[in-house]
Symmetry: D2
Subunit: 477 residues, 4 copies
């Protein structure tokens, strides 16, 4: 069932990322301080993780003030930031996934219940959401949004445990899949990371006292917090007046940290679970160079996503790193394209070749991934028309053959070009002279998980670490 | 607990009505037609019943499309109207009452539940809302808004009956107080009026087939529907593919239709429960003239609310009806007053006297009611400074001594000037030469209920037709 | 040549007045005070004279700050009011007339010239604007807007006189037609009224010292100023540090004050050239009753424009005054009509009949004027469908047969129904049982100018007090 | 005199460039086509040259349609693009310079004059503007804006020549300084470049016929036009129904093309006067490496402006090129910084270091220029706190000691740190371990003008190629 609601329609986004990461979350706890600003700064550093809506909630223990809106943070908070001087806050940036961008879907999600109030921000996707929701509806629950996050709220409210903390702990037993959560009640800030560790979450400390939780370490830097450690997979970390304490939730069958955080999602200045994203990405480029079998004169990235891997490729291969495409920095989300101009490819609005650098060259063009192939074809055509002799398209990840059910809105399977085409077929479709994917062992070696015991690479293999029966054939409802 | 959320702050409303009627509701059912436009037109005729937010939901049985926003309808639907071509729709305009203008409080309220989806618009106020909510929270319900309407949704979802219709009927047994509802499900449009009949609700038929439900008959006119009848107090009126059928809900201890609908709230071109609002209001003026004991040269209204009663007063008394105050039609809700100009009374921004008409005259100034007395004092001063010899302030209703718990946001009791001051004290406070209220028997006789068996006049008497223990001392939370 | 520029397009105005008065002007001079607020309040009382754009300019003698924008004042000054603390200010509200609503056309118009700066607001229309403009262009002037007001600026800047005051006086010799001006320079506020006195302009004094100039006396009330006198036709009134002094400009062939100011344009609470607008309008209704030859049961106005005349009609005829049509106060300029709803007549969006008051009655329906006849036909049909037995349409002005060239944007002649149809033909076109215009002697008698020596009634007679050759056949360019 | 007008105030721009290039201009002529879209696309590629306002005007020879607004193009054209289907268009993006951002200052500037209409877009700054304006005002001209461009309009309108083309040619004789113009009349598109060639302007041809004029070649690419040639310094290029023809205006004392276009302003994918901006910038980095006397472990750029020079530096020096700072791409012009967060340096909002890459390294940090030194100090501090051992700040241009009067809004002289501090003093102020400017011979050699006969380097030397007496001490008025 389609639900459209409250949505201010936006013009087509010409810079839409090929992948849609669902969310970034943040939380700040600092008794004696007003923390809206710190939460804002932290969240702002996570803007790359979600650009369709944003929200911030703050409490002083007694009152709660919340502001949520569509669009980038600067749009969502155009009218006001929460003005309450409170010592605890959580925030969220998101892409909508299934269902339309219902205004009500914007997080943090908030409710009154018998235990007071609760506010929750969620990065990830529950693989048992449909059956959970059916069960809750059967028990008389109403759902006012389309998010699976609302199910978590209802589980907590219905749990028979004595305290809110116990209710939360008990509810987490019933949800499956990917979830990094920040939760705020009247007297606690709680961070949770699912037992597989699909999505990142880390903890930092503030100079004057207090803590920050965030999806990536770059948000700690932005909030002026010092990195303490990653929240452990399967950990529920409670911050209250007495300080930090943690509980272990659920068994840990294996770890399954998303490898695409390193390939594409996370910011290069973040360190996730001990590994620098920049360095991981550079090594992917180095490894790609080792695997590359063609001959070329220069290496050039697709800006901005291919830059770090291209630097690694150039260093390893000895080929010169040259800028070949210049990005128009003003092509934004809210860019209004005149109707008549839609003939013009949006790729050409965004990127312009430097002819002098490409003329008659055999070019290695480096990008991080290849999903549908349409953008790649436009890119290669652009470079070829600028005079390049040959174009070798090099991808710093393996072919994506399966959809993700852990919080990434990939295409459905049939839209994944590598799910039904061979590498050579793809090469011909995108009209490249060469097409080089990074091998799966090459990838896993570069990120330090050669046996694939720590990372999830299900999108390359179809070997999902959890059951996905409940969501496998879901259509957007 | 204060909750602020999503609220675009508005400058102070200089034309805020002295009373805040909570809501107007509408609903349209017309298989084979697209009804958003009809629902919009009907709702638009009810704009006087609520100016803080508006919402419209439409369904084609399978999909639902909703748009809700803050402000007047022209602001709330600035970006879009629901675009779905559907055969059923409901709409709502409201004032916020207790709690802040949470964006989520805007109605219609919507939810998925085990029976599909349900959409609900509510005019009135439940007198057992606090205990209902406590009970539901205890049973594990979460509340995402501050409205009592959300409790109705939860009751319906939790009811064990087989069909949605039965669930609704059973839930209505558990709510008390004032409620006129329009409810939309995938296959039904339902209108409900509480057994006391506090708030109006009427039914009309569309020329090409189909039905319209609305708070007032003027909305039927606007939607091009012909008036059939009022929904009976205690009636649940179901409209589906088979046509109309009705069920009786609850016992009917007595009727208690709000007499203030005739005095002030409803539009003069509406007919409520068989009585023309214009004629009722004119008769109030006639009766007021009969009760008036002073001597005067002319009658003039406070525009616009006192006009009809002033005409009745003039006709009965034989005094000439003369315009004495001219209203600036451009003083609107969103009027931006320059800071410096706030010294200037807002009454003077809005109204300007016609000196030539008032000079040396003994003026009867007619208004519909007197709540706090502050505006009245400004008005009288304005007329006096324009040269009037005497000002006799005549009110076409009795002194208001008690708050309303049935959907009107009156002041709390201590702010009601007549709750603790005598008529003569009030006269002196507002500096009138004379102050004449309409007597309670005079009022009730004029609206055809001399024994007070059909109407609710609790705000004049404190004799509430239902228990109000649950809400009596509520503070805005 | 069409010029469109900077115009935020607005949805069709469903409450567009039948006449478009071009402008209202205001000016405040009060050394030692900050006058933006007073100018704002005064201008706000003139909002009925122009709703398409508004502007305010303020100076402290050294600096100037200006804000202008499209729409009502609340829209035009949405972002800011001029913030300069200055002792002199002028303001303007306008309808656009010929040419599109060029942003640059919004007044006050501003320029630097050899004498410093000058700021000018204009109500009226120059009958020699086309030839003036051609001459100035030939002399090398550029015109950045489409207004005739820009020509006045250029005349002033090019004049050879020593002082700015002399330059202005000399320039006024060269312009013809209708003009009431407020002019602000670094050290003067100047008010000018053309020798014919087409448009009103009056002077008031502020309690603490200082002066206010305004199109109507209601603006003096709003600004807290006391009325001193009307600016005389042909007077140039200079206000500076030394106080008031006045100069006479041009010969005074005859007076030609616009009689339509009394019939329709001005606010009823204004007094223009010694005559109360309300009383004039009431007398028009009385005279209309005397001329009325039909038989009827009641009198009802077209709200709001027909109310005062209807009261006069009722008083004179002895027929009861009854409200028959209720206006939806929320139909505003920026009303967004859903596309589908355009089938619905806008008259019916705006007005709803009170059936009980009209049923089987012979109704006298009073309005101020009849221009094209289309709205009138809708009104009469609405009343007839509400059950009226007969509808006698009574107009408190004579038939309009000729366009106005003095600042009113009437239709072109062929659109004026009375220019080519007899009264009886019009009656049949609008389907009225009777149609009664006020006679021209009746009108002129009622406003105290039985010999038509003081007022302009060219729109009824075609006897233009000035040459109109230059503008007679102008097409909007 | 301060004039504020129509300005929607914007929050402080945290990404304000250190230099403010005044403008970019574009023009399209293509009979038989509707060219708004092409002009939009071309202009959009020039957005980096001006972000405070934008405008587009289009004509079909008979009508003209224009849209101008504040902000980025996406903001300025938020409401509408000119909708006229016309065969000729010009566009403009600008920074405001002297005077406030008067709405009326937004270009293109438009006027009616005796020869019809004229529309003009200007990149550059006239060095005789003050005396020109004084002379014109003395002759009776009015100025409605604060731009020097309005003087050009007035010169044209007042010229006695027979045709508009002759009038333009004659007017150009009277203006001095920097100007690249696109001019549109009813039947011509004209491009003009001043005799010194201060600002770039180039010509391209459209595949289906027609021409494009633009400040940089990247705009030709964006509009789908093929580069033909640069407009010659001192050339007036007329495009009409008969095709292209050109006239020579003024004597050519020497060439003085702005060298900063290569260092910073122009987009790297543009080719200006035969020299690729990317290659020039790369060579500056190479030359800087040759001049560098320190010892280091790695090279890292200040993103984005230092990237290309850093690549050249790395290649020449043999040091590895490593990303050390990551830019938050969402810090935009309209970024709303919560008040509380302003404590946080805006540099830290925008840039975050990659600690792992900088730790204990001797870092060469490359940027294009150093104006005031404040941002540089923050950058160096940021890198040092990330663990760098030494920071050697290398600037790919010489010290800026003199203001620019040719269209760049540099600081006034006393704000230029290099005008009164030695290199070593600056090094200490910004707390760098080393500070290396590019030498002036090194710069001029790298751009192929070792004798400084083609380029203007007045900001490094104070040797202005024209008289600047008229503007030298101008204060913003």
């Amino acid at each position: 069932m389609t639900v459209k609601c409250d949505l201010e329609l936006k013009p087509q986004d010409v810079t839409s990322p090929r992948w849609k990461e669902e969310c970034g979350v943040a939380g700040v706890w600092a008794p004696g301080r007003s923390v809206v600003d710190l939460c804002y700064l932290g969240l702002f550093a996570l803007q790359h993780r979600g650009q369709e809506s944003a929200g911030l909630a703050v409490t002083d223990g007694l009152h709660i003030d919340m502001e949520r809106g569509m669009g980038l943070m600067r749009e969502a908070f155009r009218h006001r930031l929460p003005s309450l001087k409170g010592h605890a806050a959580i925030g969220h940036v998101r892409y909508s996934t299934c269902g339309a961008s219902l205004f009500n879907n914007i997080q943090p999600i908030f409710a009154y219940f018998s235990g007071g109030f609760i506010c929750l921000a969620h990065n990830g996707s529950l693989t048992n959401a449909p059956s959970l929701r059916r069960r809750l509806e059967k028990d008389g629950c109403v759902f006012q949004t389309g998010t699976d996050t609302e199910a978590i709220l209802n589980l907590i409210a219905r749990d028979g445990a004595q305290t809110t903390e116990e209710k939360i702990a008990a509810s987490l037993q019933q949800i499956e899949g990917a979830y990094s959560l920040t939760i705020m009640t009247g007297d606690r800030l709680i961070g949770v990371r699912d037992p597989y560790g699909f999505r990142p979450l880390c903890l930092g400390s503030l100079p004057g006292g207090g803590y920050v939780l965030a999806s990536e370490s770059c948000a700690l830097d932005a909030a002026g917090a010092e990195f303490i450690r990653d929240v452990a997979p399967g950990e529920m970390l409670i911050i209250d007046r007495d300080g930090l304490h943690s509980r272990i939730i659920g068994a840990r069958p294996r770890l399954a940290r998303c490898v695409f955080e390193y390939i594409y999602f996370a910011r290069p200045d973040s360190v996730l679970d001990g590994l620098s994203v920049w360095q991981a990405r550079y090594r992917l480029g180095q490894q790609l160079a080792r695997e590359f079998t063609g001959a070329a004169d220069m290496v050039t990235p697709v800006p901005d996503t291919g830059i770090t891997a291209a630097l690694g490729f150039a260093a390893e291969s000895g080929l010169p790193y040259v800028e070949g495409l210049i990005k128009n920095r003003y092509v934004g989300r809210t860019f209004i394209l005149p109707d008549q101009a839609e003939r013009q490819s949006t790729v050409e609005m965004k990127l312009n070749p430097i002819r002098a650098n490409l003329k008659d060259k055999r070019v290695v063009l480096v990008d991080d991934s290849l999903v549908r192939g349409t953008t790649s074809a436009s890119l290669i055509s652009l470079i070829r028309r600028a005079g390049a002799g040959e174009v070798h398209f090099c991808i710093s990840s393996p072919p994506i053959t399966h959809p993700c059910y852990y919080g990434i809105d990939t295409a459905v399977r049939k839209e994944l070009i590598a799910s039904h085409k061979t590498v050579d077929e793809i090469r011909r479709i995108i009209s490249a002279d060469g097409l080089q994917y990074l091998s799966r062992p090459g990838l896993m070696g570069a990120v330090g998980d050669p046996e694939e015991k720590l990372m999830c690479g299900a999108c390359f293999s179809g070997e999902y670490p959890t059951s996905v029966k409940d969501v496998e054939n879901k259509e957007c409802k």
